[in-house]
Amino acid sequence: MSTLTKITTVESKLFLRDSTSAVMTFAVPIGILVVFGSIGFTEGDDENNVSAGFLPVLSLALAAAMLGLSVLPTVLATYREKGILRRLSTTPVHPVNVLAAQLLVNLVAAVGAAVVVLALGAVSFDIGMPENPVGFLLAFLLMASSLFGLGLLVAALAPTGKAATSIGMLLFFPSMFFAGVWTPGDLMPEWARPVRDVSPLGAGMEAMQSAWDGHWPGATNIIALLVVTVVAAAVSAKVFRWE
């Protein structure tokens, strides 16, 4: 077994053993889907420009955001704080393998949560499936990569695991607002819409909703997600400390 496979296997076990990450990834999005699905929040709202896919898109966007902005940076910053990355530096294996394994595990968790949410939405609430599945997958992966990129940046800058959790939460709440979690579609105030179009969560949700309705994600959304991913990854690669 290659070193990365071995480390990824161990990191996935640790991920599953941590109840917080499991709850955040699966229980929260499923809960949102079930609660809002049960009260009939499954129809689109053409008048306010809200896609029928808003509810499943919201659920899996929140799952990806919690993984990227909370679970990933907290785990990595804690590993550094406790000297786990430093300890690895004394072995023939570079700690960058742990970082890669963490990204993989969180990505698989995000995809897993997405599959469960979509299946549950289609089967239990008759929400249907994205009309443009390829565009949807692309939008989802880009959103996840930009959120994980931000998570790496938080992990790079936070001195401790607790600090990483706090910074992650500080990013999480405004992200939800600008993504239109409370004000979907045209219900969002005019001034906030440009931020929604380019903020990782907002752009990701818009792109996924377009794909849900059968279109291709808008260029502004895609470019914004790519820029955030590349810039966040480049900056964290530059400032990430292993000890």
Binding site: V10, D18, G83, I84, R86, R87, T90, T91
Partner: protein
């Protein structure tokens, strides 16, 4: 040929000089101690050997390799136990060892190692549930799992209770018996005296002396002191006449005899010849701490009870 050579090592962090000028050699198969107060530069010195830090000056050679340039080769033969390094809370002891074993070309058998370190019944226990002593033993196991030729152990017994410390010492002697060369960083005098074949006293980023523990002590003083209460009246002259005795004084009912050579043997046989038994006998010798004070001109920092 020495297995590790450190020459004029210098390392500063900004304007703070951590290691000023340190040189020493470690021979294969020995336990080499690096002893000094907190902040003396001990950890920085071994971090340069481990390849975790790049020296600002001087050179470090491990088996003829440069820990920075040949980092991969050095890491395969050197196992490290770091100060204050933990593992993920929910990782079990067996998983940790198994994972670390997979990093090395010819690792030790993780199950056997757990057994050797008395952790066999803790194999399935998560790191967060291990006691301080068990965590420390696991940390030693991780340092050994790659079958290293050199093990660097930094502040091995800090935070352990007295029984766990003694157990750990015994363990280190077993490791050495397998042929592993050990560098032991410590600020505990008793630990250094008990375990090390040779040690470097480090103070203020410089080497104050390198010798065996006994050698260091004998540099300061070869005098010993015996204190006892004679079971019958005794003429002081009997003792002062002995060639090994330099002084005799009385403290109430007790005699205090200072001298050199084989003082206890000479004094006790002389007493026996006069039908006197030495009661409440106590012997004092210079300690490693006295040696440190004498060689650095300052007292060893009070040891913080961890």
């Amino acid at each position: 040929m020495p297995i590790i050579e450190v020459r004029n090592l210098h390392k500063a962090y900004g304007s703070t000089v951590a290691v000023d000028d340190v040189s020493f050699e470690v021979e294969e198969g020995e336990i080499f101690g690096i002893l000094g107060p907190n902040g003396a530069g001990k950890t920085t010195t071994v971090e340069c050997i481990e390849g975790l830090r790049r020296p600002d000056g001087g050179s470090v050679s491990v088996l003829g390799l440069d820990p920075i340039r040949d980092r991969m080769d050095v890491r395969r033969v050197l196992g490290a136990q770091l100060q204050e390094s933990e593992l993920p809370e929910k990782l079990t002891a067996a998983e940790a060892l198994d994972l670390y074993a997979s990093f090395y070309p010819s690792p030790a058998n993780p199950a056997e190692l757990l057994d050797d370190l008395g952790l066999a019944d803790k194999a399935g226990t998560r790191f967060e549930k291990l006691s301080g002593g068990q965590k420390q033993r696991l940390s030693i196991a991780l340092a050994l799992v790659g079958n290293p030729r050199i093990a660097v152990l930094d502040e091995l017994t800090t935070g352990l209770d007295p029984q766990a410390r003694r157990d750990t010492w015994q363990l280190i002697e077993q490791v050495r018996a397998r042929g592993v060369t050990i560098i032991l960083v410590t600020h505990f005098m008793d630990e250094a005296e008990r375990l090390c074949d040779r040690l470097a006293l480090i103070d203020g980023g410089r080497v104050a002396a390198i010798d065996s523990p006994a050698g260091l002590i004998s540099r300061v003083s070869t005098e010993q002191t015996l204190r006892f209460r004679p079971s019958a009246p005794l003429d002081e002259a009997v003792l002062t006449a002995l060639p090994d005795v330099t002084a005799v004084s009385r403290e109430g009912a007790h005699y205090v005899v200072t001298g050199t050579g084989n003082l206890p043997y000479t004094v006790i046989t002389t007493l026996a010849a006069h039908d006197v038994v030495a009661a409440e006998l106590r012997m004092d010798q210079a300690s490693l701490e006295d040696a440190f004070v004498a060689m650095t001109g300052r007292s060893f920092e009070p040891q913080i009870a961890a």
